[in-house]
Amino acid sequence: MRRITKMAGVLLAAWGGMSAAVAQDTPENFLERQLTIVVPYGPGGLTDARGRAFQANMEDIIGVPVVVQNVSGGGALVGINFTYSRPSDGQHVVIASGSDGPHAHSVLSPSGLGWDWEDWTPIGQFARSVLGFVAPEDSEWDSLQEMIDQVKEEPGSITLASLGPGRADDLYMLEFMQATDTLGKWNWVFYSSSGNAQADLLTGDLDVAYIGVSRNDMIDHPNFQVLAQGLKEEEKPADWPFPWPTVESVVGQELDLIGASYATVFAKADTPAERIEYLEHAFEQTANDPDFIKMRDEFGEPALWRDQETAQENLDQMHELLKEYLPLRDEHLE
């Protein structure tokens, strides 16, 4: 009996110790009323769908309602400014992509901002949004290389669209053109949405568009063909479902900017560290939740989680590269 009691005591102590350790690992939930996810675009788009996926699955984890607030305008800048205007208490976060987050706007914005990239911190990254060169299914060019050869031979003969202007996509395109020695040789135009560009690939106004391709419907699409995807070979997950060649493999060299861009959750950098820690914990838990993963898979954009440190490294690097390429954009736009 004494032995049993002793064993029970040891087990109890071990359980207590483990609980304490777990309690120490789990940051304290500071959210009392709600968490507001600011979506810097109107309802209905890709960024909105990402915010809504958290809204649908996060409440059980954090124990308070998740509100999606659409604050649109200025290519995501208004939503970012709005989040910046809120107190630094971790109750407002903003979702943006690699092209339009605070790391990009702090470089690309044509007007002065009341903040800098250092005033922000990523909480983590939860989706990989890959852009790619898309042509009509019946295009007279079967590969991106053929298009590159064509514009070299006959400048202005191919109309290329990208999302912009004023987004990081401008710089992706300039990097691509510089690498292929085709700067100024494409008939380059801007579109405000992938949907409009897709419509004009069908009308024949566009020959090729650099738009989002990381959705399952682009595989074997009856109207479109993806000529190349902007993803680094080494970043391709083993189960990556998209079979197209990478832009780097077509160009035959490594590119700095064209690569995977990640959807990121941002908060203000002066939010108390323990709150940032809790937010990272909560978003990570949600991103690894089976229902969230299922929802994201069905949306056609597989879920993932990259922690704060990795995200910070990725975005810092992106920020520096954008600054490096900015003079090229200004020169080109002039």
Binding site: G44, A49, Q55, G75, P110, F190, N196, Q198, L202, L333
Partner: protein
């Protein structure tokens, strides 16, 4: 083509789905009637409640809101001169004037029955002509879209809208075009006038313009013209279902050709990406004017105008979904939300959808038709009560309008500065009205101007002048040139002849 229609009917007729369409329709009716609260805002508010629903159910509720809010975007306009959305503006212009003459019941019933006929024509066109619409949409590139918007502007701006006072009418259109230039030029990225204000880089939001142009001046009128409204409140507003139905039947018999034509116009324009219900309602209005024998009523309260505009914009509704269902390309904010609901539910709209999930395509198209039935069922009793809004004292009506306008304006973009911008637009609108400049023309210019500029410049960037020489674009250029020349000939020539005639010279000497 028609595979899956039986399954779709079974899905639709389940009590659960019928209830959700009914609820969506009811919410859409409310959203469209309130100033500034658009169908898109209501859809966005309800999106979280669709999580976990069957995909068909959530989409049915959303399309219920979408279709019903388009229909009811004119209800507020008829009742208190503030349209719920841009598609309701032509009806507001004519309907409110009729309402002030004590014909509220007649206008509301014309609105509802014409809308139902429009949604039925639109549904039939979507079912029968979808393959044709897809071909049509793929022929409509940048140049054609820009020129078509220019054609709509030329037709409406120089036609019915400016009939009473062409000079002021065109000046107001010009002011609207100027308003449309504010913000970032989408082809070049150059920010015009407002570089330091990112809130305005996307230009003035349509909800700000509508609320500013209509709600604010109306608040001033309500506050200052008490005697005028007192007269209206004394009127008998009897609303008999049978009596109003017979009155509409008589209108329909007299104008059935026009109503069917406007339905067809709405269906075709609705299927063109980017133009949608707003251009349809203006073109329906213009067609009603063109075929009317009582042109003098336009601008002073024309029941034919209400029938034409409402038939056209409701016919456009089912067809605005066609590019989404058939090509997977959302042509409007509302279609983007419906696309989002589909994707969240794991259903991928697009060319393969008719092959893989035909029942889902049919569920949506039939669902839109059912919404038409529901808005008649709900709309008639709603109108019976709603007509008494015209009898509400300004002391009660003004705070309600202010509150809903502020909420709607805030919901549109999510930032409070929008409310102040709307107030600014409203004060300018009051001044415009004092100068007898019609605000509907300003709105027309502000809506079509950015589309015309963006698409035409893009077309020029893509193919230079040669892009406008392609058959579709060239035909539109010729039509526009003919309209403008005819307008000049009709309006300017008689004046010039008079000035240069010998009699006139003698008078001068």
């Amino acid at each position: 083509m028609y595979t899956g229609i039986g399954d779709a009917l079974l899905i639709l007729l389940s009590p659960m789905n019928l209830s959700w369409i009914a609820l969506g329709t009811l919410l859409g009716l409310i959203a469209g009637t309130l100033p500034g609260v658009s169908g898109v805002s209501m859809m966005a508010l309800l999106l979280p409640f669709t999580f976990g629903m069957e995909p068909e159910t959530s989409v049915l509720m959303l399309i219920g809101i979408y279709a019903a809010s388009t229909y009811s975007s004119s209800t507020g306009g008829i009742l208190y001169n503030i349209p719920g959305g841009a598609a309701g503006v032509p009806t507001t212009m004519e309907g409110y004037k009729l309402s002030m003459k004590g014909r509220t019941g007649e206008v509301l019933s014309t609105d509802i029955y014409a809308s139902f006929i429009g949604s039925t024509i639109g549904f039939v066109c979507a079912v029968v002509l979808t393959p044709l619409f897809i071909t049509f949409a793929t022929l409509f590139g940048t140049a054609e879209r820009g020129l078509f918007a220019l054609l709509a502007l030329a037709l409406v701006g120089t036609g019915a809208l400016s009939r009473a006072d062409p000079l002021r009418g065109l000046l107001a259109v010009g002011i609207g075009l100027l308003v449309g230039t504010v913000g970032m030029q989408p082809n070049t990225g150059f920010v015009r006038f407002v570089e330091g204000y990112p809130q305005l880089w996307d230009g003035f939001h349509l909800v700000w313009i509508i609320v500013g142009l209509y709600a604010i001046p109306q608040i001033f009128r309500l506050a200052t013209l008490e005697k005028y409204f007192h007269a209206v409140r004394e009127m008998d507003l009897h609303y008999g279902f049978g009596e109003e139905f017979r009155r509409f039947l008589s209108l329909f018999r007299r104008n059935r050709g026009m109503i069917i034509r406007t339905g067809l116009i709405g269906s075709i324009v609705g299927a063109l990406p980017g133009l949608g219900t707003v251009a349809s309602s203006w073109l329906g209005y213009q067609e009603a004017y063109r075929s009317s024998k009582a042109k003098e009523e336009f601008g002073n309260g024309s029941i034919e105008a209400v029938a034409g505009a409402e038939t056209a914009n409701n016919a456009a509704v089912p067809n605005t979904i066609v590019p989404l269902l058939s090509l997977g390309i959302p042509g409007s904010a509302a279609s983007a939300l419906i696309l989002g609901a589909f994707l969240l539910a794991g259903v991928q709209p697009g060319p393969q959808m008719m092959a893989v999930n035909p029942e889902k395509v049919w569920t949506i198209l039939l669902g839109l038709f059912f919404t038409g039935v529901f808005f008649v069922i709900f709309g008639l009793p709603f109108h019976r009560v709603a007509i008494y809004v015209t009898k509400v004292k300004p002391a009660f009506l003004i705070p309600a309008i202010v509150a809903f306008s502020a909420i709607g304006t805030f919901l549109a973009t999510g930032f409070e500065e929008g409310i102040y911008i709307t107030l600014g637009i409203g004060l300018v609108a009051v001044l415009l009205e004092r100068m007898y400049l019609p605000v509907a023309n300003v709105l027309l210019g502000a809506i079509l101007g950015p589309t015309i500029e963006k698409e035409l410049l893009l077309a020029y960037q893509i193919g230079g002048v040669g892009r406008f020489m392609q058959p579709g674009a060239a035909s539109l250029v010729l039509i526009i040139a003919a309209i403008l020349l005819w307008g000049l000939y009709k309006n300017l020539l008689p004046s010039l002849v008079e000035i240069w005639s010998p009699k006139s010279s003698q008078r001068v000497s």
